[in-house]
Symmetry: C2
Subunit: 150 residues, 2 copies
DNA sequence: ATTAATCCTACCATCTTACTAGGTTTAGAA
DNA sequence: TTCTAAACCTAGTAAGATGGTAGGATTAAT
C-alpha cells in the first residue's frame, strides 16, 4: 500500500526546493543530485507540479524552478494530489461518484472509507511545506539531530 | 492511490459474512453471488483472511466460513492489513525501518508520513465489522435517510 | 555561438493486479 | 459406498502501472 515514487520523490524535492531557494531558481540537476534521484525522471515529476501550479519554471541557462507560492501556503496534500491523483483509497469515498455503490451491500463499507478519507485529508491539508523544513513545529520529535557533518 | 480489490472485496465480504452468519457456515459461492465477485478470486482473498486468523473454514459439503471472533472484536484495520500488507504509505513511516532515510534531506518528510500513518491507524483500529453493519454507530452521518425516499 | 537549462515524446523492462483454470482434498448425505 | 458440495492449492495470463531511459527541441543567459 505504498504511495508511488512520484509522490515520495516529489515531496522530498519540494522540501529540497524550500531549503535551497535563494534568489536564483534551482535547477533539477542539483535537486536530483542531492536527493539521489534520476534527473530525467524528476523532469516528469516537475512537469506535473508545474501543471498543478505549484512551481514556476525558468527556462534557459541559469534557469530552474521556484515555488509558485510561499512554502507555508503549499500543503503536502496539494503536492501529493498533483502527483498521485485523487487521494482517496476507495471510489465510494469520493463525493458524487456512486460508481460501485449500486450494489446494496457494498455501501456498508462506505462510511468507513469516507471517514478514513476525511482524516487523511485533514492531515494532508494541515501540513505545509514550511512545516516539513521547520523541525520545531513537531513537538514529539527530537530537534537535535545535528550529529551529521556539514 | 486506490486500495486494491483484494482489500475492498475482502472488507465487503467480511461485512456480508457478519450479516449472513446464522448457525451454519457461509459458503463462498453465496458471498460471491451477493457481492458480484468471482468465486475463485474470492477463494484467494479468504485464504489470506484465514491465515490471518480472522475467519474459520469448514471443509466438505455444507461447509463454508465463519468469523473467528465476534464482529465487534475484528477491526477494519486487521482485515485490510491481512489483505494489503502494511498499511503505511511510505517506508519511513514504519517503525524501525530506516530504509530510505539514510539520505539526509529525505527524512524531512518522515514526520509527515508518521503523522499520516498514525491518523490512518487510528481510524482503522477504531472501526470494527460491527460498526459497518450497525449504521447507528456513526454520529456524524444522518441516521435516518428516509427523507430521500419520499 | 555556446552552454545549460526546461520541455516533450517515445520507448522499455519489470512488477503488480485481477483474474481464470484445473485439479486435490474433505466431509456430509443418499 | 457413492455422490456432491465445499474448501484448498498452484500455475498461468492479459492488461495495466511503475520506474525509469533516450534523444531530441526549445529557450535564454553569457
Amino acid at each position: 500500500m505504498l504511495i508511488s515514487t512520484k509522490g515520495r520523490y516529489g515531496l522530498r524535492s519540494m522540501a529540497d526546493l524550500v531549503l535551497n531557494a535563494q534568489e536564483n531558481p534551482v535547477p533539477l540537476r542539483e535537486i536530483a543530485e542531492r536527493q539521489g534521484i534520476s534527473e530525467s525522471y524528476l523532469e516528469q515529476v516537475f512537469a506535473l507540479l508545474r501543471k498543478a501550479g505549484l512551481v514556476n519554471a525558468i527556462r534557459g541557462s541559469y534557469g530552474g524552478y521556484t515555488l509558485a507560492r510561499p512554502a507555508d501556503q503549499i500543503t503536502v496534500g496539494e503536492v501529493l494530489q498533483a502527483l498521485e491523483g485523487p487521494l482517496t483509497l476507495a471510489n465510494c469515498a469520493k463525493i458524487g461518484t456512486p460508481l460501485e455503490c449500486d450494489k446494496m451491500d457494498s455501501c456498508l463499507t462506505m462510511p468507513f472509507w469516507k471517514e478514513l478519507s476525511a482524516k487523511m485529508e485533514e492531515v494532508m491539508s494541515s501540513f505545509t511545506l514550511q512545516d516539513l523544513v521547520a523541525k520545531e513545529t513537531l513537538p514529539g520529535l527530537t530537534p537535535e539531530v545535528k550529529e551529521k557533518e556539514e
